[in-house]
């Protein structure tokens, strides 16, 4: 997809795919094109070239919009609505048939199920509570694709843990999720795959292992052995080589303190991808 706003290029040839049951993280500095990518998928912005599809329907078409849930980066709901009313409004627009049961389930899911909270108007909510309500809104009608633009920016640590759990829940239900965030730790803990955008392009795509690491990275990472004489590095050592290496060092009279692999973190990959993409 390509997109320009006047003379500013927002996307200069971005191609991405997210599959059912997959959580895709979009990373990149401000202005990299992450929000534009999401807005094209949501049908809010039209690509100048290329096309976006949601479940086989052209993005922006009624067929595509029936399948998506969206939470924008900057959003505001009518101050006078209560969370239940806001969800009912979106249920009607989405043609969702879940009724009160769905509203109740969604509000509990995002931690707004307390009757005292549900009785308040959205205008009295804190930013974090509004973000929770926004996430509930994005899940109305059981969408197949959920687009979340900075969904945890205003949440406290407890809220972030809950959103993390929510994303796992969506993944288990086969929902495709695209999340745009600057929080690398959130990406490491929730995403299956990451696309790093810089300069309106995808400069790196990589898979995560679901445990906070890069998939396949640990086996290929150099082995580091710290002894009383310093640190030894073995670039191509397998796990089977570790015992022999230690024995060799001990035989040479060294005292071994620590053996570890220099596994690259997402932060390292991100920074090197950005640095490598700088013209």
């Amino acid at each position: 997809m390509r997109k320009a706003y006047g003379r500013t290029t927002a996307l200069a040839g971005v191609s991405l795919e997210v599959r059912p049951g997959e959580v895709l993280g979009l990373l990149g500095p401000n202005g990299a094109g992450k929000s534009t990518t999401m807005k094209i998928a949501a049908g809010l912005v039209r690509a100048d070239a290329g096309e976006a599809q949601v479940g086989g329907a052209a993005a922006g078409s009624p067929g595509a919009r029936r399948q998506i849930g969206y939470l924008g980066e900057l959003f505001r709901f009518p101050d006078w609505m209560r969370p239940d009313e806001m969800l009912q409004f979106h249920q009607r627009l989405a043609g969702a048939t879940g009724g009160a049961e769905e509203r109740d389930r969604l509000l509990r899911l995002v931690g707004l199920g307390d009757p005292a909270v549900r009785g308040r108007r959205l205008g009295t909510f804190s930013k974090g509570m509004q973000q929770r309500a926004g996430i509930a809104q994005a899940l109305v009608g059981e969408p197949r694709l959920v687009l979340l633009d900075e969904p945890t920016s205003a949440l406290d640590p407890q809220g972030r843990v809950e959103v993390r759990a929510l994303m796992h829940h969506l993944r288990e239900r086969g929902v495709a999720v695209v999340v745009n965030t600057h929080l690398l730790t959130e990406v490491e803990r929730t995403c299956d795959r990451v696309a790093i955008l810089f300069g309106a392009r995808v400069v790196r795509e990589l898979a995560l292992d679901g445990a906070g690491g890069l998939a396949g990275a640990s086996d290929a990472a150099p082995l580091l052995v710290r002894t009383d004489r310093g640190e030894h590095r073995r670039d191509r050592a397998s796990d089977d080589d570790v015992a022999a290496l230690i024995a060799q060092l001990v035989q040479a009279g060294e005292r071994v303190f620590e053996v570890r692999r220099a596994v690259p973190t997402l932060e390292h990959v991100y920074l090197s991808a950005i640095a490598g993409a700088v013209p």
């Binding site: 807005k39 949501a42 912005v45 959003f75 009518p78 979106h90």
Partner: protein, 287 residues
């Protein structure tokens, strides 16, 4: 409930929650009260002069004074309703998008034109309701105080309703590319241009210069909300003849002009075209 009804209902409730309706009710009531009091005192003076035999044409005065007063009330109500419609509609699209409200509606499987027309309908309904109630109350007050009643109030109300809908359509159309304040200013400038058209027409008629009068007529027709106001003025003064009729029909900011079926059709088509242009622009807009 379909998308149109859902957005219309939510928009009406939002205007109510923002106390727009309350402000309109309170200030409308105040306007009617002031009009009634003023009419009472003016009519008391005129009646005293008629009783004292100071008026040469008492029968004409009994029409001229209340018709002029009601004509002024109608102009004021039309002006206030148009301003209210502008304020209600000018922030409807781009303004709401800038606040981050609109995007979550637009991603739902509801056509963009449905969103636009529903928001326009909500603003127009409130502005027309304000105009209808205030003008009906003014007519009632005029009738009670002076005994005079407009010739065809229902027709005048319908024509003004069309005029207000046209202004609301303009404000909504401007709200697609422009933020609230800019859209409001643009709409009021266009509204003011219509008033100038009416003024030119009056001036041309008054000084007997056909080219000035025709310029005014052309301007009023090009901006048919002004032509509809003039038609409404004609509807309320239809039964008045002679010099009094001429004076009353000059009206404030636009003399009375009979609404032909063609003129009404033109106003409806013009409004529909403005909405169609707004929809076309909205379909191509990024949010």
């Amino acid at each position: 409930m379909n998308g149109f009804a859902t957005i219309l209902q939510a928009s009406l409730r939002e205007h109510a929650r923002k106390r727009t309706a309350l402000v309109a009710v309170v200030l409308g009531a105040l306007f009617v009260l002031l009009y009634s009091v003023a009419t009472h005192f003016i009519w008391a003076d005129v009646s005293a002069e008629i009783r004292a035999g100071k008026e040469r044409s008492p029968a004409e005065m009994r029409q001229l004074v209340p018709a002029t007063l009601f004509g002024l009330a109608m102009f004021a109500t039309w002006f206030l309703s148009a301003v209210a419609a502008t304020f209600l509609a000018a922030g409807g699209i781009r303004g709401e998008a800038e606040r981050g409200v609109l995007q979550h509606v637009l991603v739902r499987p509801v056509a963009r034109h449905t969103v636009l027309v529903a928001r326009l309908a909500a603003a127009a309904l409130l502005a027309v309701a304000f105009m209808g109630v205030v003008l009906a109350c003014c007519a009632l007050a005029t009738r009670v105080v002076t005994g005079w009643a407009p010739a065809n109030l229902a027709q005048a109300l319908l024509l003004l309703a069309l005029a207000i809908t046209a202004v609301t359509a303009v404000a909504t159309a401007f709200s697609v590319p422009l933020q609230g304040a800019a859209a409001g200013i643009a709409t009021l400038m266009l509204f003011g241009t219509g008033l100038i058209g009416g003024l030119l027409e009056q001036l041309g008629t008054g000084i007997g210069v056909a080219s000035v009068r025709r310029s005014g007529e052309w301007l009023s027709t090009a901006l048919p909300f002004e032509a509809m106001y003039q038609a409404a003025l004609h509807a309320i003064t239809r039964g008045i003849g002679g010099v009094t009729g001429v004076v009353v029909r000059l009206g404030p900011f636009g003399g009375a002009r009979e609404a032909s079926a063609g003129l009404i059709l033109w106003a409806v088509s013009w409004t529909a075209a403005v909405v169609a242009l707004a929809v076309a622009r909205l379909r191509r807009s990024d949010f």
